[in-house]
Amino acid sequence: METLDLTINGEAVEALIDPATTLQQFLHDDLGMTGTKEGCGAGLCGCCTVMVDGMAVKSCLVLALQVRGKTVQTIEGLAPEEILDPVQQAFIENGAIQCGYCSAGMIMSSKAYLQENPHPSESQVRHALSGNLCRCTGYHKIVKAVLSAGEK
């Protein structure tokens, strides 16, 4: 077991973990932050996307110990005071959420990208989200939602 210190959604977290634990497993299984879903465990679907120091990261590809001392933001940290983030609001209003299993990762990827490029073109949004799979929506309303969040 190894000790791990990091900041998650603004709170300091200290834990004793099995070094083989991925960040996704640490968040989802150990901390019960089940918004960070496991879709494939191989970095291919994007369901487990979180932000590490502001960058979108597939948390199944990172060992928890690799983010020691860093700042992690998960979907649960996006609306701490019940006030939804504009990206979350846009997903709801545009009907961009169906089964919802990809939504947290999709929203975190979108959020990270909009921080970097607040007013993207459609083509830029499509490239930014091309690593996040969704089977329900054909991405149509997701792309619409991100563009509308970008306009705000």
Partner: protein
């Protein structure tokens, strides 16, 4: 019709009632479940496509520290077979394995890692048997392998029985239609066309893989949570396969399930249940079985490889006079829902056009692959792939516009389909016109470079919904006026909970936020056939409406006494009951409840205001010889799709320039959600199944069991926002709630032929099998030019 009327909540794009929980990461799925003391399960699977199990040695696995239960397919764990229509399957294989991945043993342990180690320690000795993968070979009278030697002695479903074929031992269902005489029709026809079309085996790729959690309580009763789309089907499978009485099993489906699309046979749930029961003594610990992505892609239900033979006779004027088809679902080792898919793939071709002489033979055939069954469209995307490609071949020979040819033959209100059923609520022609208009049909567009070739294509489709069928609903009016729905419909993302809330909001004239939907739980929520066949809006919708009427009747009877009014003169809105025309003579619903000493509220009589109702639609089972039936289905959804493509003749890559869909759903209860279904059907599954997706196997081993190799469309594979168009056509159905039918399954049944017809228009090459990959395009271009 009533679709013209204005409603407060029906027909409005209300936000999905689960969207906030999902957008904030709070929504809990079965995969997220953690129970105190929970064990984790892993499965030992067959490496052979067909083999006799000689022996299984679990002794080393049992001795591994942390292992709590090890099970194999014996009399104790697997006393009985189960299956949707043919009871041909044990939870764990007994005596022989029939596909690569067939489960032979399973372990529950303190962690997934220990469970996997234990599985690796299980030694199984096999004696290999000849295997069959080719559909035509398996179909033979003397096939190279027989999957189920005792098939004829297996139990079958009484209500919709499969028909076996006396002479073909691997046929698990045989369905036929004989309307008039196809042979005579061919003799009289000016032209006869004969072609074969095929579709590849594909997978649903739901984002949440299959998951089950099972627990035995202190009374010995079994509770199973899962990702199934059919709580009562899962209930039957789990109780029957163990010989348990139905009341001994409780099934719960969490409020959120990560996608369905037909492929939710409860395999993981069955393993979890077996391991929960198998633990020695008490307390028995809960067990979780979550399939890995690889297990999910390589062992769970697929859309079958289909072989479609079609022969069509037409007159010079473009009238289709005869059509004959043989449909073969090249199935897996167990029939599953595929027993019905094999039959019901006939419905699309039977109801697309007016055809006097129609003959069809549909087969489901066992091979040594994993189970093939339900997949959005239920066989009709496959059968219509053949029919709608054929229609373009015919139109070209007749020198007719493919749109005009379809409009000329498209079935209409009052026409007879191949079952000789009188058609009602038919939006086919309107869909064709809308889809054509959306891509500027008939107008040529030019590509930027000479090696890029553009073309346009169109196709017509329809999707029936199942009969016999039934849905039940319970509606409870709480003392604070909130109305609660108890339904066993599973919200897999399609948005059923949202439209149900809208329906109840409309009936009670309360905001959608004052309605809630309980998640399926067989102890609490009543029977439903299942979240399948695009049947929920229509069937559960009707049950909900009737249950609301029942609840309102009780409410008005109670209020009539208080208001000294006739119950028939009462109405409700905003959690109040009032006399029609005299809104001042009113009471709040809460005033009917008496606050009691110590706490709580009571009614003076009747315990609670609970409305309940069943919507039962028996239909008429088609005649086994001719298929004749005046009501083989609940309703038909119509669809037309049109595509413009650009083929890169240097790389073989196909780009969707524009794509359009028009869907007749009867009445859109929530237009934004209908659009969502259209988009997912066309852009993800339509484009994916046509151009990209294929389960590739070698001797039964899946070669692409990861998302890196089994590719589904990404944001970059879908056309830009401006180049996708959708239209909602509302052809009200007389029996539908507010005229509504359904939507989900109709959204991809003609995507493949629309795209392939456009490819033909672009490069003059007719593809007979999907997916149409760049490799196939390049090869075909080379052959054409040589």
């Amino acid at each position: 019709m009533n679709s013209k009327r204005e409603y407060q909540y029906i027909g409005k794009s209300e936000y999905n009632v689960n969207a906030t929980a999902k957008a904030t990461g709070r929504a809990k799925y079965c995969s997220d479940m953690q129970l105190p003391g929970m064990l984790y399960a892993k499965v030992k699977r067959s490496p052979y496509p067909h083999a006799r199990i000689v022996s299984i040695d679990t002794s080393q696995a049992e001795q591994l520290p942390g292992v709590k239960a090890v099970i194999v397919g014996d009399e104790k764990t697997c006393p009985a077979r189960f299956g949707a229509g043919v009871a041909d399957e044990y939870v764990l294989a007994r005596n022989k394995v029939r596909y690569v991945g067939d489960p032979v043993a399973a372990v529950a342990a303190e962690s997934e890692q220990i469970a996997q180690e234990a599985v690796d320690l299980i030694e199984v000795e096999y004696e290999e048997l000849p295997a069959v993968f080719d559909g035509e070979a398996a179909f033979k009278r003397n096939p190279p392998a027989v999957l189920h030697e005792d098939l004829k002695r297996y139990q079958t479903l009484r209500s919709v029985p499969p028909q076996f074929d006396e002479n073909r031992p691997n046929v698990f269902n045989y369905f036929r239609i004989r309307r008039n005489n196809a042979e005579d029709g061919f003799k009289a026809a000016d032209y006869v066309f004969e072609n074969r079309f095929e579709t590849a085996m594909i997978h649903h790729v739901q984002m949440e893989s299959h998951c089950g959690v099972a627990m035995v309580d202190d009374s010995g009763r079994l509770t199973v949570w899962g990702t199934s789309s059919k709580p009562y089907g899962m209930h039957r499978d789990i109780s029957e396969s163990r010989g348990l009485p139905s009341s001994a099993v409780r099934i719960i489906i969490p409020a959120h399930v990560g996608g369905g699309f037909g492929g939710r046979e409860p395999k993981a749930e069955q393993i979890a249940a077996s391991l929960a029961l198998a633990q020695k003594g008490y307390p028995k610990r809960p067990v979780k079985m979550k399939f890995t992505r690889e297990e999910h892609l390589s062992t769970t239900t697929t859309r079958a490889h289909y072989i479609v033979d079609i022969k069509t006779g037409v007159n010079k004027d473009g009238t289709i006079v005869a059509n004959q088809m043989r449909l073969m679902l090249v199935g897996g080792a167990y029939a599953g829902t595929g027993y019905l898919t094999a039959r019901n793939a006939a419905f699309g071709p039977a109801a697309n056009y007016r055809i006097e002489n129609f003959s069809l033979d549909a087969y489901g055939v066992y091979t040594n692959q994993r189970m093939a069954g339900a997949y959005r469209g239920f066989g009709n995307a496959e059968s219509l792939w053949g029919m709608e490609s054929q229609m373009d071949i015919i139109a070209e020979t007749l020198n007719m516009d493919p749109l005009e040819f379809r409009l000329k033959n498209c079935i209409d209100e009052g026409d007879l389909n191949a079952f000789e059923e009188v058609m009602h609520s038919v939006g086919g022609k309107a869909c064709l016109r809308a889809a054509a208009e959306a891509i500027e049909w008939g107008k040529e567009t030019k590509a930027a470079e000479p090696h890029l070739k553009r073309g346009k294509g169109i196709a017509l489709g329809n999707k029936y919904s199942i009969a016999p069928t039934a849905s039940a609903a319970i509606v409870k009016v709480h003392p604070d006026g909130l109305v609660e729905l108890r339904t066993s419909t599973v919200d897999l993302g399609q948005g059923s909970s949202t439209i149900f809330c809208q329906m109840i909001a409309e009936e009670f004239k309360i905001p959608v936020s004052r309605v809630r939907v309980l998640n399926p739980d067989t102890d609490i929520t009543p029977f439903d056939l299942g979240t399948a066949s695009s049947r929920s809006t229509f069937n559960m919708g009707n049950a909900i409406r009737k249950a609301c009427l029942d609840a309102k009747r009780q409410l008005f009877e109670l209020a009539a006494k208080e208001l000294e009014a006739n119950k028939d003169d009462l109405e409700t809105a905003n959690s109040k009951v009032f006399v029609k025309g005299s809104p001042d003579r009113s009471l709040e619903i809460k005033d009917l409840f008496i606050p009691m000493v110590i706490g709580g509220y009571t009614l003076k009589e009747g315990a609670e205001i609970i409305g309940k109702a069943t919507y039962y639609l028996p239909g008429v089972i088609p005649d086994p010889e001719t298929g004749a039936s005046e009501k083989p289905a609940s309703f038909y959804m119509f669809v037309a799709q049109a595509a413009e493509v650009e083929v890169d003749t240097q790389t073989g890559k196909i780009r969707i320039v524009k794509i359009a869909t028009a869907n007749d759903c009867g009445k859109a209860i929530n237009p934004m959600q209908v659009e969502g279904q259209q988009e997912g059907g066309v852009l993800s599954m339509g484009i994916g199944s046509t151009l990209m997706e294929e389960v590739i196997t070698d001797n039964g081993v899946m070669l692409n069991p990861q998302l890196a190799d089994y590719k589904i469309p990404t944001t970059l594979d879908c056309p830009d926002l401006a180049n996708y168009k959708s239209a909602i056509i509302e052809t009200a159905h007389r029996d539908g709630p507010w005229g509504a039918k359904g939507i989900g399954e109709g959204t991809m049944v003609c995507s493949a032929p629309a795209i392939a017809n456009a490819i033909y228009d672009a490069i003059g090459i007719r593809f007979h099998d999907i997916p149409i990959t760049p490799e196939k395009v390049l090869k075909a271009l080379k052959e054409k030019n040589s």
